[in-house]
Amino acid sequence: MYKEYTLTEKAYICLDCIEGISARRKHKIMALMSSAEAIFTEYKGKRAEIEAIAGAEAFTKLEAGLDMDLTERSVNELDKLGIIAVTYISDEYPDTMKEIEPPPLVLYCKGDVGLLKSKGIAIVGTRSCSRYGRDVTEKFATDLVKAGFTIISGMARGVDGIAHTTALNLSGKTIAVLASGVEHVYPPEHLDMYKKIEEMGLIVSEYKVGVPPNGYQFPERNRIISGLSQGVIVTEAGEKSGALITLNYANEQGKRVYVVPGNITSNLSKGCNKWLKECQGALVTDVNDILIDFEMPAVEQMGIEDIELDFTEEKIVLELTKCGELHFDEILALTGLDVPSLSALLTRMEICGLVKRLNGNIFTI
């Protein structure tokens, strides 16, 4: 048994399993009862009220679904799959989540449920990110992990995936909020990431086991991403990016929002830049802009000056700072080294983190 559920929790799990009634109405039905566990017996006497809240069929649905045996079975099922159900009244259920509209009755979790109450920041953005988006996402994720934040995201392609991977590589904490049943890996190429998050972090979903990732669930899911976090950063987002939905939710929920500005000519940054025009306070350029809001000490931004360089290395780094990126042949002309020595040198600089190699034998800082 991953968890012993109390009768109250079971009541919530049971209610959550009933289909055809919205979460908002289920909360209202629950409020009619003297206590949560009493729902199994009391609902019969409150037919009129229930039908007033949730329509004529609601009562029959409750009648069919509210059954102790059925509940036991679903609890066992969850247990077999290694899923922990954190209900609205469970201790692990974060208070911040109760403020979102509507709060999920149950959060299905895989991994370390303790992370639900940790201090988290969501990093979200476009699914097809540019090199800039990738770099910025990695940078913010790295700095935030180092500052002790949990990285929350949606395990989608692009920015989401990069944020998770960065956190995992640093052995940091990370939460993936899925738009499908918690056992469903989407996109499929993130299977490895899914397994690692399950092991080292937490996977959360409000959807029951077996629910596929239907399109309309993604925006719904975004309210949980913002709900779980203390702030949301968008690193790169086009005009119609789902990340902007998350940003809107965060704004409504009174969370802090941060937007990284992008190139004005880039389509992939249009969403970010548009948002910034309306809300200039959201602009962030490094992690200290975020840490100051949490009254945390600023971190030293590691500069290249801090590493001791020899003459050639310094020359390369200086030129790269000026030009942004250089082809291998250009560096060759710059330094006057022969090919083998330069290859060897660049590998070592890469290992030290001084330069980065891009596609096509191009180097950048």
């Binding site: 291998f328 042949d329 250009e330 290859s343 060897a344 660049l346 590998t347 070592r348 096509g360 191009i362």
Partner: protein, 510 residues
Amino acid sequence: MLAKVKSYSILGINGYGVEIEVDINSGLPSYDTVGLPDTAVKEGKERIRSAIKNSGLQFPVKKITINLAPADTKKEGPSFDLPIAVSILVASEQIKTKMYKDYIILGELSLDGSVKSVNGILPIVIDAYKKGHQKFILPKDNVNEASYIEGAEVYGVTDLAETVKFLNGEIELIPAERRVFKNGEAINKYGVDLADVKGQAAAKRAIEIAVAGGHNVMMIGPPGAGKSMLAKCVPTIMPDMTFDEALEVTKIHSVAGLIDQTQGIVINRPFRSPHHTATKIALAGGGISCKPGEISYAHNGVLFLDEMPEYSRESLEILRQPLEDGVINVARAIGTIEYPAKFMLVASMNPCPCGNYGSRKRICSCTPAQIHKYLSKLSGPMMDRIDIHIEVDNLDYAQLADKASGESSATVKKRIEKAREIQRERFKGTKTDTNAHMTSAQINKYCHLDEECDKLLRMAYEKLNLSARASTRILKVARTIADIEGSENIGVNHISEAIQYRSLDRKYNV
């Protein structure tokens, strides 16, 4: 009357003896060929009849039966025309001496009686000579090819009349002079030189290493970056073939009729670039007569697969066994034939379907899923056989115009020959010939790393996200780099350089 003439035919790339028996009887005039002849052999009837008549001889108007023994093997091609004509003339007593019995006779006849060249002469002469046959009557055009074999007495004939006169002792023919294979005879016939490639210093260096160690190469870059040009330069820097290597290549090319008859033997290393629509049979060999495929034509040379992910997965996977063993076994109804297929694989690909992923100038329009799909067309085991990844980008070289044009192929070739010499010495007495083909025991023995190198490699794994697969590849390539430098041990510089050539392992993780 009965006559028997000796000839030879080809199965795979080996010759086997065929005895041609002709029996001429009185009866209704007819002409029958038995002994599993194919259409080309059967049609020979018309050529032979005209050739005999047009050479001023008599075609017997009798019942003619021709048997090609052994009778259970399929006989192919027009090379039996001349021996059949000779045996008819023997049987009709127009050739009077018994001299014909000493010769192996081959050749295709033209209607006017002239003798045309045929395919597969070199393997036939080699195998017939091994079986104790020393004298050959061959088409004049095939003489250069046959005369590389020491001890073989090769007589070239131009037409049927000349052959008949020779076999009747009326004229003397001089056996062809033996040609001697000179090492270094190969001249750069590829039309490209490494000096012509502007810039791309890193890619050129990578190719040098690849050739020095016999490593397979993958080039990645947008269209127009110069991948094909670089690939074409690969054979220009490969060491010259030895006589044995040249003979092996010539045998295969001879069967396919790819020989330049003025030279007679293949001296330049083959460079084969089959189109990506090539079927697996075109690549591996096969068909009814079990012909060699592109990978065998590339034996001892280069197989260039341009746009590798465009090839069908099926055709690519058949390369796996030959890349490992250097031979391919083709099994068909006529038997199982082993063709040599030891080639250096040079492949090229775009980084994504549109070709611009990661490019500085152009924007990629592919979705991550598309790129993923494109890259996954190359299977893991296939990529495991490619040691060196080269990335090329189209750079504006006008900016670098003042840079000297770099070394010529000949200069690089010299360095490579030296590195190959070291490897020959190292692997003496083993089956391995180059660093690329080292067994794991040999890697342990010859690629020992000191503490510093080991540390570097471990850090590279952590920081650069190298896959586990990369490890032995890096060791092998580092070994080759050390060999080029003439260094006995692998140093930090060698390892660090080798890491640069594993870019596919750590990137493209979109």
